[in-house]
Amino acid sequence: MSTRSIEPAAVALAPGTGGGHDHPSLQHHFDNLEQQKEASTLGMWLFLVTEIMFFGGLFTTYVVYRSSWPREFMAASSTLDWKLGAFNTAVLILSSLTMALAIWAAQVNRRKQVVFYLIATMILGLVFLGVKAVEYADKFEHHHVPGPNFVWSEDAHGEGGHAAAAPTPEQAAFAHHVEIFFSLYFIMTGLHAVHMICGIGVLAFLLVPSWKGRYNSAYHNPLECTGLYWHFVDIVWIFLFPLLYLLGAHAT
């Protein structure tokens, strides 16, 4: 007859073998906290995989057009303020640090520090979005927003208004390709900003339970998963920054 042997891996999942059997944060369908943690961490990583594919479609589009029109992309890129971009990059990296510190604080049971670092992360995120808003306003001012009001003049980088003689077909084509760069710029940075806003929302959602001390050395899974997400959004920006801002360095 079959020997009814139980694989070692299965034993780990069996009820009564893990800790935290009646922990208040343990959901009914999991056997123990460890299984719950493994499940939610795997789920978060899979979600990040979908995010990579999501942004991957954009990066693919970028690569295709960037290789088609390198000059136009450089010219358009040089209108972006790389200093603001660099500042934002620093802000985001710092926010990833504070996020990691929040998780650390939970692991060592420092309740108030968890809240402090979460708020710091949110403030840094808001600073990033504020700088982004300034940059967007600048695009609107210079008519660099794609659409019927888009203006591109090579000398004045689209100071707008003073429409000179009708552009040659080459100039018109150049301007069109620049418009595609800005379309990509707005979609890529816009979707990144949407992800930032979602992240800040989730952080706000975690504040109250953190204040109540629900996250501690035994259970801090929501913090960790949010941290994974936050770092991911950070990494997306680290790719966006050189692709969009630093390309123009070669233009002059």
Binding site: M1, A39, G57, T61, W69
Partner: protein
């Protein structure tokens, strides 16, 4: 063996069984359904939504077939016809075929088959149903405002620059609906990795689980790409951005690449779960261990992987380089290998088996035949030369309906008939259900086989009128569609009837093996009184122990004492 369990367990006559506490009678009222986190109830919710969208899609199909009854475009304007076939495609692909098996049968069975209490993320599961319906609302909004006429493929620049229909609403509907697929796929992967019962090793998983695992991989990797693509189309229409706009130098073909990168694998999202169903049915009604279990399991994974490498075969005439087209052609033919492995292994399982021709098995046998025809014509049109000839003709329409309708829907109906006793606790009338299986098979072939011929003769897709010499075949097709329609309507009635008047099914009416048959019908909310411990391979129809169990002479499983 544990001798204390071998005392014959006397079952009262089925009709006298009182309902055990189960997931259906545990609570009543709308709230207990709309806020449920039970995967079984969510499966029922999905079943209702999916059926509504199937009916809607079928209505559009009916309009198409009525228009094509005569060569003249006499029922509707060409523009209306464009909208009708587009809505047929959008509703059927995104709101029926993709969620059909995974979100209903998959949702119900994945935790049961692996011995878990629920999916890993029950709230996410419920959210996916709401998100699905939200996407549906957007699509219905588009339909009732006047529809969309781009074809379900949303090809640019027509969709972005020229179409005067409700592209954005439809695109948003599809975009939102994508999230519900992702939630389901993500939930399945985590559940299968982390929630298996003790002893349920990877190679003891039912093939239904393997195929859902492969499907989930495709969903997780593919769906985000169409999400971003469709978002770019919407942004282009809404805000005047110019990503695919040829007037700015944008590349509409890039859209096709991004679109088919998801939408070809999406074909496997539709067919793989059906293949999983068929593996279960064939083993259960042939009463044999499935032939080449590991090959069938890995064939699912192989199809998922290869499926991502063949999207270019939709673009053979779109100005692709000959080298790219040749490579895509070869890769497309490679998909036939794992698909054929499955068909051969099912056939080998049937060889010298004692087959019982219950209703689900009729669907399974129908699937094997129709899928083979659909697959073989798929290899034909993967060939560059033939594809150039039949591209955009009814040959293509017939081919993918053999896979989608002859494959996916046959699988869905087969699975529904097989697990209905488990889902509802009741049996449905045997004669009527066999009749409907027969009607579906006959009606299907009469509808779509003539379309192969039509296409080969040169009748193009997406036209509302055609030369008179094609009429005979088109009339046959319309006649077949009406038979098919009756075949689809019948189950609605006898399933509903069975809920009240059907004989009580007992826990294992088919004498099948698998953890889902080891619990009561309908199962309790927690699925199993205690978590089962798995000690056997799947499809173990030969061992003495299983024989005793499936003839219901003994209390079935050996439960682990907590």
């Amino acid at each position: 063996m544990n001798t204390s369990n071998t005392v014959p367990h006397e079952l009262p006559p089925p009709d006298d069984l009182v309902d055990q506490p189960n997931y259906l009678n545990v609570a009543y009222g709308l709230k207990s359904w709309l806020l449920t986190r039970d995967h079984k109830r969510i499966a029922i919710l999905y079943m209702i939504s999916v059926t509504v969208f199937f009916a809607l899609g079928s209505l559009f199909a009916l309009l198409i077939r009525l228009e094509l009854l005569t060569p003249e475009g006499d029922l509707m304007q060409p523009d209306t016809y464009n909208r009708v076939f587009t809505m047929h495609g959008v509703v059927m692909v995104f709101f029926f075929l993709i969620p059909s098996i995974p979100a209903t049968l998959g949702n119900f069975l994945v935790p049961l088959m692996i011995g878990a209490k629920d999916l890993a993320f029950p709230k996410l599961n419920l959210a996916s149903w709401y998100v699905y319906n939200l996407g549906g609302v957007f699509t219905l909004w588009a339909i009732f405002s006047g529809g969309v006429d781009t074809g379900w493929t949303f090809y640019t620049p027509f969709s972005t620059n020229y179409s005067n229909s409700y592209v954005v609403a439809t695109a948003l509907g599809v975009f939102i609906n994508g999230f519900s697929s992702i939630f389901t796929g993500l939930n399945f992967i985590v559940t299968i990795h982390r929630m298996r019962a003790p002893g349920m090793t990877w190679f003891r998983l039912p093939l239904f689980i393997w195929s859902h695992y492969a499907t989930s991989l495709i969903i997780v990797l593919g769906t985000p790409v169409i999400a971003i693509t469709i978002l770019m189309v919407a942004a282009e229409r809404l805000f005047g951005l110019g990503i695919f706009d040829p007037r700015l130098g944008g590349d509409p073909i890039l859209f096709q690449h991004l679109f088919w990168f998801y939408s070809h694998p999406a074909v496997y999202i539709m067919i793989l779960p059906a293949m999983g169903v068929i593996s279960e049915l064939v083993a259960a009604f042939a009463r044999k261990r499935i032939f080449g279990y590991k090959f069938v399991a890995f064939a699912s994974i192989a199809i998922a992987v290869l499926g991502f490498l063949v999207w270019g075969h939709h673009m053979f005439v779109a100005g692709q380089s000959l080298y790219a087209a040749t490579i895509f052609s070869v890769l497309s033919m490679l998909v036939a290998v794992p698909s054929a492995v499955k068909v051969f292994n099912w056939t080998a399982t049937l060889y010298e088996a004692s087959i019982s021709y219950e209703t689900p098995m009729l669907y399974a046998l129908g699937f094997i035949g129709l899928f083979t025809l659909g697959g073989l014509t798929g290899t034909m049109i993967a060939t560059l030369g033939i594809d150039v000839h039949v591209h955009d003709t009814y040959f293509i329409v017939a081919h993918f309906h053999y896979i989608m309708v002859g494959g996916a829907i046959m699988g869905y109906l087969g699975g529904l008939h097989y697990w209905w006793p488990k889902i509802s606790g009741r049996l449905y009338p045997g004669f009527l259900s066999r009749l409907s299986a027969l009607l579906v098979f006959v009606g299907f072939n009469l509808t779509f086989f003539p379309q192969f011929i039509l296409g080969y003769l040169g009748m193009p897709r997406r036209y509302w009128s055609y030369p008179p010499e094609y009429q005979v075949l088109n009339v046959l097709s319309t006649a077949g569609a009406s038979i098919l329609g009756i075949g689809y309507i019948l189950p609605l009635f006898y399933f509903a009837w069975s809920l009240k008047y059907g004989t009580r099914a007992g826990e294992n009416p088919w004498g099948a093996v698998g953890l889902e048959w080891d619990t009561t019908s309908p199962p309790p909310t927690e699925n199993f009184p205690v978590i089962p411990v798995v000690t056997r391979e799947p499809y173990d129809y030969t061992s003495e122990e299983v024989h005793r169990r499936t003839t219901q002479q003994e209390v079935p499983v050996v439960y682990q004492v907590d």
